[in-house]
Structure formats: C-alpha cells, structure tokens
C-alpha cells in the first residue's frame, strides 16, 4: 500500500477524502495563525511588562469597543465558512449516488460480514472494485458498532434493529484497515477487518471464483485460512491460551467439561453443532456469547474448519 499521507492524516483512498483533508488543513492553518497571535502576544507582554520590584499601576484602557467588535467578527466569519464547507461535504457523504453497487454489512461481536448482490459473502474482508461507488446497507446483530475506514474518511454507526447507510468510492487499489469505533465489549479492539480494493476485472474474477479452496490446497490448509478470514481467531487461539472462547489446541478427541457439569467427547458432530448452533452446549468457564455461523459458512467450509481443528490435536 502507498505510504504517503501526512503527519496528521493517513493516505487518502476515496473520492471524499480530498475535501475532508482540505477542510482539516484549512482549520489547522487558521488555528495556527490565531494560536501564534495569542502565544506571541502573551510572551511579548510577559517579557515587556514583567514586574520588577513593586507593582506599577497601569493607565491602559479596560475596554475598547472597536477592538472587541473586530476580534468577535473575524472568528465569526471564519467559523461560518468552516461550517458551510463541512455541511456541504457532509451532505455528499450522506447522499448515495444512484448507480452505486450495494453491499449488505452485518456487524456482530466481534466480526464483520458482507453480502454481495451476486450472492457471495465474506467475513472481515470487504472486496470492492476501484472507482465504483459502493453503498453499504448496515445493521447489527447485537450492540452498536461503528464502521470506520480511516483511509476513506468514512464512518457510520451500525445499530441493531435498524439500517444505517453510508457509501464510498475507492480511488486506489490496495488493502485498507476497517475498524470498529463504537465500544462493543471484550473483543472491540480485535474487530478489525480489511477493505480490499481491486480492479474491475479482478473483482469479476473474484466473484466467479467464489471463496472455495485454492487449487491444490488441502482441507486443513483451507481450514487454516478460513480460521483467519472467518474471524474465528478473534476469540479462539491455537496456542492453548484461553481468550473469549476456548482454544482450539488439543481440543479434538478429548473429554471436555461443560457448564452444566456434564462431560462431552469432542468429535466432528460436536464441533459442527458448536459452529452452527453455538448456544447448544457451553464449555465450562466461558460465556455463551458466540453468534451462529449458520448461513455464513458453506458445508465445505465447516468441513475444512473441523479438519483444521482436528489437525491441532497433536503438536
């Protein structure tokens, strides 16, 4: 990815970004000016009128109508300009172009899933063609989340029980961070996805290829890839450390204590149920917080994940 950008702002990657950046730096420059005036005057007065010995009395005026009008009027004019610029760009951010392609965004603790008009779906990776307006129709399955791509200067809260809408048009190819910016609990800081901007033709190929295993890729390797791309790794480690959910390491083939006091042998059917109906059986010591992956995973993907977990039984 291109690493230009400035001290304050990350590299711009959308059509709206240049307007936002201009306004940021406009306010920045005006602020520096006034800040310099205030600081310089303060320092000057401190040096020039420093008390030496006894305090002196001053005959300086205690108000000056003209001066007070001037220093009220100039900032007022400036902030009206800043307001109008900000509002106009804000309207553009909120009015979706008619020809935008639409992606359905679903947020839940703690991952993003995307459904494309052609039927594809992804987790934690939004793939979009460059130079095409993309409308995001967003909703949450649980608490409030917020969709934020710093490079695109776009952010919108994602609420349960209603749709929120935003859009962007990416201007350059590459991978960009997607953050959740509304605090949503333990995994908030790990609710990070990617926006992958590709050329029109690559997008077409990607849609066609679907998201199956790559050529020559075994089920275990495919499962390892899904473990990351479907965001299992947000809550489940593979190194034995407990996170939000139990680790996958050496889980398969062992007897597992459950929250209701019973013991269960971890086999293929148990894993399948835990992925598609996670509330059915809860491992002792963990909260029942996992959302269902029913509809998010194809059968083959479930198979691959189970094979991957099986592969972690001996190290």
């Amino acid at each position: 990815m291109d690493t230009t950008g400035t001290l304050f702002l990350p590299p711009a990657g959308s059509t709206i970004a240049s307007e936002v950046d201009f306004q940021f730096y406009f306010i920045y420059a005006a602020s520096i000016f006034f800040f310099a005036v205030v600081t310089f005057a303060t320092l000057l007065f401190i040096v020039r009128y420093r008390r030496r010995g006894e305090p002196t009395r001053s005959d300086a005026p205690t108000h000056n109508t003209l001066l007070e009008i001037v220093w009220t009027a100039i900032p007022t004019v400036l902030i009206v300009i800043v307001f109008v610029m900000g509002f106009r760009t804000f309207l553009k951010m909120n009015v979706v172009p008619g020809d935008a392609m639409e992606v359905k965004v679903t947020a839940q603790k703690w991952f993003w899933s995307f459904d494309y008009p052609e039927g594809a779906s992804t987790v934690n990776e939004l793939v979009v063609p460059v130079n095409t307006p993309v409308k995001l129709l967003m909703s949450s399955q649980d608490v409030i989340h917020s969709f934020f791509v710093p490079n695109f200067r776009v952010k919108m809260d994602v609420l349960p029980n209603r749709y929120s809408i935003t859009w962007f048009e990416a201007t350059r190819r590459g991978e960009f961070d997607l953050f959740c910016t509304e605090y949503c609990g333990k995994g908030h800081a790990e609710m990070i996805g990617k926006v992958r901007v590709v050329s029109e033709s690559e997008y077409g190929q990607w849609l066609e290829a679907g998201s199956g295993p790559a050529e020559g890729e075994g089920l275990v390797d495919y499962g390892r890839r899904l473990y990351v791309s479907k965001a299992c790794n947000t809550c489940h480690s593979v190194d034995g450390s407990a996170n939000v959910g139990p680790s996958f390491k050496q889980r398969f083939g062992n007897s597992q204590a459950m929250a209701d006091g019973s013991f269960i042998m971890v086999d293929e059917n148990y894993l399948r149920e835990s992925i598609l109906n996670p509330q059915a059986k809860i491992v002792a010591g963990f909260d029942p917080v996992m959302p269902t992956y029913q509809g998010l995973l194809k059968d083959r993907e479930v198979d691959a994940l189970i094979e991957f977990i099986k592969s972690l039984k001996e190290e």
Partner: protein, 548 residues
C-alpha cells in the same frame, strides 16, 4: 510566635471549634470546602492510578499487565471517577465552597445545612460508585451506551446509581450558590462589581440545577430497563438506543461547561491579580459565561454526528457548536489584553494561568476541527477526540484548578507552598501532559480508534511515546503532593494578602476566622480597581486596626 500570630492561629476556622466531630458536623462553608477537597484529591489520585495503568498497558499491543476485560473496566472507572467524583465537584464544590462567601463578603453560604448534606451525599455516591469495583466492575465506558450497558453482565447498576446519587450533591451545591449569590452579597456589591469567579460560579450553578436532573432520569431509566426488562433503550425489547444518547448528552454536554466555566472564572482572577491590572472587558467576560451556559444546552447532538440522527439535526447542532467557540475565544482575547501594560508577576498560580491559556487554546481549536461535520466523521471516536477533551478538561480545568489551589492555598491553610518546587512540578506536568496527549492528536487523526485494548502495529511508536509522557506527568504530581503536604507542616506563615489582590477574600486573616470577617463587609472598591487602589496600603491600615 507573636501575640498577633497566636491570636490568629486560635481563632482560625481550622481550629475553632476544634475536634474531628466538629469538623464532621460543621456548617462552616470553609470546612465543607476542605472536606470536599479531601474527597476530590483522593478521587484524583484513584483516577490517576487507573490512567497510569491504562497507559502502561498500551505501551505495547501485546498484553503488558492486564487482560481486555480488566482494561475495559479500568477505562470505565478512570472516566467515571475523573468526571463524576473529581472534575465536576473540583472547582465549584471544593474551591468554590471555600471562596464564594469570602469573595462576596458573606459569613457563609445561604443554606449551610444543605451544604453539609451535599457533602455527605457526595461521599455516599462515591462509595456506591467504588462498590461497583468490588461487585465485579462495570465495563461500559463512562457513557453507559445502550444496548451494551443493558446486556453486559458487569456491575453497571451500582456505578450508574452512584452517579445518580452524586447528581443530587451537584444540584444542592448549585441551588445553594445561586441563592448565596443573589442574597448574600456585601452592601455595595452590585452584579457588575462581583468578581468574575462569582459570575462563573453563578453560570455553572444554573447548568447544574437545570441539566443534572436529566442525567438522573436517564440513569434511572437505564437501571429500570436492566432490572425489570422494560424496553426503553434496548431494541431487543422495543426501545431505541439513539434515544439514550440524546438523553445522556443532554446532560453530559452542558456538564462539560460545569467543568470549564468555573475554571475560566479562576483564570480571570489569576490574570488580573498577577498582572496587577484591571481585567479587560469585564462585562464581556461576565456575559460570555452566561452565553456559554445558555448555548451549552443546545449543542448535545454534536456527539452524535455518525449515530444516524437526521442530517438536519446534525446541521443545526454543528452550527450552534461553532457559536460556543465565539464567547470562549472572546475570553481568551480579554485575558491576553489584560496583561497588556500590566505588572506581571510570574508566581506559580500565574504560570498555571498561562499554561491554561496555551493548552485551552489547543483544546478549543481542535474543538472547531471536531465541530465541522465532514471532518468529525473521520475523527469521531478516535484518539483525536480523546486528546481534545483531555486538553480541555485537564489542560483547561485541571490547570485552572491547580492554579486556584495554589492561589488560595495560603488563605486555606495559612501557609505558603514552596515556590521553587511548585515551578519544577509545573514544568514536569506541562511537558508530560503535552508529550502524552499531543501524540494522541496525531494517532487519532491517523485513524486509531479509542477504547482499544490493543492496536495494529502502525500506531505502536505513537502509543509508546504517549505512555512515556504519562510517566513525566505522573512524576510532576508526585512532586506536587510532596511539597504541598510539606507546606502544611513546615511552610512559612502566609500573610493575609500575599498576592496583593483586591478581591474580598484577601481582606481577612490567613486562614480566616470561623465567621470569615471581623467586621461587616461593605464594598469600597471594585474587585479589579488596580488603577486606583494600592492593596498593600489598605492591608497595613487594616492590620493596625486588628492589632489594636
């Protein structure tokens, strides 16, 4: 000890009447102010420890000393303790309680028993909040956004109930101050002869009385929703989470001005006193306080530009937000103009006032950046906003509070603090503060979201630098604690008016007697008439009278 000094010590409010029981049941506003001071200093220490631990954890994206759950509880506690237990009562209830009656030449506040009650309610509310730590800790952030706060299994109820109780303490203080300012001013002290600190406390009290009940209602609704499952805010029960945000910010935005207005009052006093010059544009400063108080009720929606509220609402809130900037700017210009042709003495309180000017300007200008709708979309809920409100709340309010604390310290305790160590401490705080928080402007505008336990590698260096800064900042406060406590026992005796100030609190002994003044006070000159009065000469006359 001369006879005069001994007489002052025996009759000082600190010793008259003696004993812990007389302190705990005191109706003396000065003692209640001191009791509040103990409470808020303990809270500041607690909130500060949480802050240092948070910064320590953020030193590296990996786990340093706590897990994500603990981190989430700590930032919630840091926010709740600093806001509800420290900064809201800091200037009005602690310093304001102590100086308000003195500044207007009164014997006490209008309702001394209500005043004591407000302190006990404060302590009760604080204990309920702290109980939430034992009860499992809350992890919602100090904003308690629904539906997360309805769902989470943590001790949300005790923390919100504590904040609810604290609200009453704040309302009582507000009512008390309004009545005091209306009814107990010394003869001759007309509205426009009041010190600007009194104007600031008046404007603050109005907000406290009018806005706090809304917070109380909101938090009770939240508790009812959690306890009885009545759907008000939680969409799963048919409620509306954005409604919660409207309710919450309807209080919490004006609350920002509960925090900053009294700070501005202190700055007016400090700059005029240490420039030995009449304040520039007295009426503009007084009216701008009221103006800010009024507009502060109409801008809450600027916390919600990306919440899904209507574009029309966002437009109006953005427009009004900019107009809070104007009266704040006017105050800054007035303070700077006051220094023109003054006789500037760079004692510690003045240095705090100058630090305030510097840091508050940065806080204010970045507020304009955030007020702009388009730019706010990018910066909302990033470290930019974290840096912004720390510049206003800590760089502004805390700096002014510390300036006021040093300014009135001799009056409170009858002892001077050590000027040398005070300046060392201020230098550490100033440098540490900027290192900690200016860095956060950069990482925020680069896209680093707030309330993150861990972060992507891009932000590692900035986070680490910010954490180093926090150590310098912490060290500054340790130095301050040492020299302030030392001064209580070993500090040199304070004269009645060490700063040659013209406001009334300096016309009594340091520390004052139980009923403040040894004579009925009558206003003989304006609070800032440095162009006509020589305070030292007045004081000498007065001393001779007392000695007789």
């Amino acid at each position: 000890m001369s006879t005069l000094e001994k007489a002052i010590a025996d009759t000082s409010y600190l010793n008259d009447p003696p004993g812990i029981k007389n302190w705990l049941f005191t109706l003396d506003h000065k003692r209640i102010g001191v009791l509040y001071l103990y409470g808020i200093m303990a809270s500041f220490l607690l909130g500060g420890i949480f802050a240092m631990l948070l910064r320590l954890e953020l030193l590296s994206p990996e786990r340093v000393l706590m897990d994500a759950d603990t981190y989430n509880q700590f930032f919630t506690l840091h926010g709740a303790v600093m806001i509800f237990l420290f900064i809201i009562p800091s200037i009005p209830a602690a310093l304001g309680n102590f100086v308000l009656p003195l500044m207007i030449g009164a014997k006490d506040v209008a309702f001394p028993r209500l005043n004591l009650a407000s302190w006990y309610i404060y302590v009760a509310g604080a204990l309920i909040c702290l109980y939430s730590i034992i009860a499992g800790g809350a992890d919602t952030g100090w904003t308690f956004y629904t539906p997360y706060s309805t769902e989470t299994g943590t001790a949300v109820i005790s923390l919100t109930f504590g904040a609810f109780v604290l609200g009453f303490s704040s309302i009582f203080t507000g009512i008390n101050f309004i009545a005091t300012i209306h009814k107990l001013r010394a003869p001759g002290m007309t509205w426009f002869k009041m010190p600007l600190m009194v104007w600031a406390l008046y404007a603050t009290s109005i907000i406290q009385v009018m806005a706090t009940p809304v917070l109380g209602i909101t938090l009770i609704l939240l508790i009812v929703e959690r306890t009885f499952g009545i759907g008000i805010f939680d969409p799963a029960m048919g409620g509306d989470p954005v409604l919660y945000q409207h309710f919450f910010w309807f209080y919490s935005h004006p609350a920002v001005y509960i925090m900053i207005l009294p700070a501005m009052g202190i700055i007016s006093e400090l700059i005029s006193t240490f420039s030995h010059k009449k304040i520039f544009g007295y009426k503009m400063i007084a009216f701008s306080s009221l103006g800010i108080a009024f507009v502060s009720f109409l801008v809450w929606g600027h916390h919600m530009f990306v919440s899904g509220q209507s574009e029309m609402a966002a437009m109006i809130f953005s427009f009004l937000t900019f107009f809070v900037g104007i009266p704040s700017g006017i105050k800054v210009f007035n303070w700077v103009a006051t220094m023109y042709k003054g006789s500037i003495d760079l004692k510690t309180p003045m240095l705090y006032a100058l630090s305030f000017l510097f840091l508050f300007c940065i806080g204010g200008f970045t507020g304009i950046v955030l007020g702009s709708l388009a730019v706010d979309v990018h910066l909302h809920d990033t470290y930019f906003i974290v840096a912004h409100f720390h510049y206003v709340m800590m760089g502004g309010t805390v700096m002014a509070f510390l300036g006021g604390l040093h300014y009135w310290w001799p009056k409170m305790w009858g002892r001077m603090y050590n000027e040398f160590w005070a300046k060392i401490s201020l230098a550490l705080i100033f440098v540490g503060f900027n290192a900690t928080f200016f860095t956060q402007f950069i990482m925020g505008s680069q896209g680093m979201p707030r309330r993150y336990y861990t972060y992507v590698d891009t932000y590692h260096r900035l986070h680490a630098f910010s954490s180093y800064g926090s150590w310098v900042l912490g060290l500054g406060f340790v130095v301050m604690a040492v020299y302030l406590i030392h001064s209580l026992f070993r500090g040199s005796k304070a004269p009645a008016n060490p700063w040659r100030s013209l406001t009334m609190e300096w016309e009594t002994t340091s520390p004052p007697i139980a009923h403040n003044f040894d004579r009925p006070m009558v206003l003989e000159h304006g609070p800032y008439d440095y162009d006509v009065i020589d305070p030292r000469k007045r004081l000498d006359d007065h001393r001779r009278e007392v000695a007789k």
